[in-house]
Symmetry: C2
Subunit: 131 residues, 2 copies
């Protein structure tokens, strides 16, 4: 039964009052932290079942199959649950770039002293991602 196939994982996750859990995406081989987004139970199930990472878009209030518009998909390598069950770490193989700005990761702004410094360059023009 599909419903019970991932029952152990789903039972171990403590979704918040909105039914969501934060999911950190990390490139499995390089270790880059790519992004953080949210999943509901359906997104977790679809991710485990399909092997392609699916989040819950809080702005669109719908499933967000990463890369369905931009083509920059994330293939699941491993889904890990933290010690108190309220955060996920998804190790992925990221096609191209994770960030909608066309950068490899979303974490390209560093707080250094009094300044904010961009530490990562745009790799793909966002116009190319969302044309």
């Amino acid at each position: 039964m599909i419903m019970s196939q991932f029952a152990a994982a789903l039972a171990a996750i403590h979704f918040n009052q909105d039914g969501l859990v934060p999911a950190i995406a990390q490139q499995f081989d390089s270790g880059e932290v790519l992004m953080m987004a949210w999943m509901n139970a359906e997104a977790v199930r679809e991710t485990l079942e399909s092997g392609r990472v699916c989040y819950w878009s809080r702005s669109r209030q719908g499933l967000w199959r990463k890369g369905e518009t931009s083509g920059q998909q994330q293939r699941l390598k491993e889904l890990l649950i933290d010690c108190d069950g309220d955060t996920l770490l998804v190790k992925v193989d990221q096609d191209g770039v994770a960030c909608h700005t066309g950068r490899r990761t979303c974490f390209y702004t560093a707080a250094r002293g009094q300044d904010l410094i961009e530490v990562e360059a745009v790799k793909i023009d966002p116009k190319e991602l969302y044309k």
Copy 2:
């Protein structure tokens, strides 16, 4: 002025309705994702000022200077803000173990098929951490 020293960073962070932002801690050299916890503005400021990572404990409703009980401190290497300002990545140098279970990271439970598998061993007996 201390208040304005980190004004640019604080202004770039979008704290949620509880005044908190999720912060992912990553070992700066190995790339291990150690844990995820929450910061309020005061925790961000203290972290940037002191160079030791400080979170906000939602259970204790107070500042949580990582390692103050266990001794397993996190020294800040870099604080990064994501593209929409609602998640932080703190690159740290973690003393010993990050997890209260005595494991290096909190993400030691993998969802593999129908099973949950422990993929990381205890390195320090928790009794030694909290004696």
